[in-house]
Amino acid sequence: MGVSIDKAILAVITTNHKLVPAGTNVFHCGSQQEMFEITKNLEAILDGIAHALKDDLFIIVKH
């Protein structure tokens, strides 16, 4: 039985460098396309859902 983290922000992916708080895994991206790519991969890897908070700010949350 593995331990899994629920209802927590596992990663933040953004193109806006000013937006992101510290204390979580942040992925700064150069372009929106790059952001989508990284989000897609992280979604699969972390088994979480990618939610868009703003156009330039995505989070991965496990439910």
């Binding site: 859902i49 990618a50 868009a52």
Partner: protein, 298 residues
């Protein structure tokens, strides 16, 4: 000390009881039990139940009143059946792409226990009719029992309490909506496209206040999602948690927004499936009854 006069009634009673169990064991939309060993277990238990129900009558005729204590043994035995079914299904549930949910599982487990009691009752009545009247009466009694069991085993369905309509899901920003009911936030444009391509939305409008409370039950909602998944497949895999069928509620008027991702996108079929989802015993709420009694529940 052979009591040959009891032979035929006993055989008849056991046969009818077992036949009834077979009849009630047909694999239906719940897909359970679908494997041979599961069926064998239930047929064997059905046979035992039929035997117990049958034996009581000759035992009473022979004034062996202590034989009635057998029934307590039977009761604990069949409660065990319920536990067994519950445990099995709960273990299996975690490996389903869309799970049944505990409420549904409990409902099925209770049905399994209840069916054995129906078998006991049927065998008892049939054998009694054979012994006290004749074989013709026994045949009639068994037919009546079949119909009674069928009536007892079929509860209400969703179509009795809700009106179902199909609505194409849509996105407002990253929010997925069915009609005006918010389902979830899906961020990636690629996922959004998939969701729109495969997703189907349904609005379940409760016909009255009781229905509104009943469909609010999370177990009932999960049962709907599960049944649609079983009938139409699901566009989902492990590692794609974003593709998840969900049912959310409109807090204003209690309507239910169902979002599903079937492999086969057929509106008519889906509506038919949702219509036939059983109303779970543990989800049924009848607040109107409480209110009409005009007193607080203790």
């Amino acid at each position: 000390m052979g009591h040959i006069e009891f032979l035929y009634p006993i055989v008849f009673g056991v046969a009818v009881g077992t036949a009834l169990r077979v009849y009630m064991l047909k694999t239906d939309y719940r897909q359970y039990p679908s494997y041979l060993h599961g069926k064998v277990i239930h047929l064997a238990l059905g046979f035992i139940a039929a035997g117990l129900g049958t034996i009581i009558v000759p035992a009473l005729i022979k004034e062996e009143y202590t034989a009635i204590t057998f029934l307590t043994l039977a009761a604990s035995q069949f409660r065990e059946v319920r536990n067994m079914e519950r445990t099995t299904m709960q273990q299996v549930d975690s490996f389903e792409l869309v799970g049944r949910g505990n409420t549904y599982i409990e409902g099925i487990a209770v049905a399994f226990e209840g069916r054995n009691y129906l078998v006991i009752l049927t065998s008892f009545v049939t054998t009694a009719a054979y012994l006290f009247i004749n074989i013709l009466a026994a045949v009639i009694a068994s037919i009546i029992c079949f119909f009674i069991c069928r009536a007892l085993m079929s509860g209400n369905r969703m179509k009795d309490i809700v009106e179902i309509s199909y609505i194409e899901p849509h996105f407002d920003g990253a929010g997925l909506y069915v009609d005006n009911i918010y389902i979830m936030n899906i961020g990636l444009p690629e996922r959004q496209k998939e969701v729109l391509k495969y997703g189907m939305g349904f609005i379940l409008k409760p016909k009255n206040f009781n229905a509104m409370i009943t469909i609010a039950n999370l177990g009932q909602r999960q049962a709907i999602l599960y049944d649609v998944t079983v009938a139409l497949g699901v566009y989902r895999d492990s590692g794609t948690p974003a593709l998840v069928p969900l049912a959310k509620r409109d807090l204003e008027d209690g309507r239910l927004g169902i979002f599903v991702l079937p492999q086969v996108k057929e509106v008519e079929k889906a509506i038919k499936v949702i219509s036939n989802v059983p109303i779970l015993e543990n989800a049924i709420r009848v607040p109107s009854k409480t209110l009409s009694q005009g007193k607080q529940e203790q």
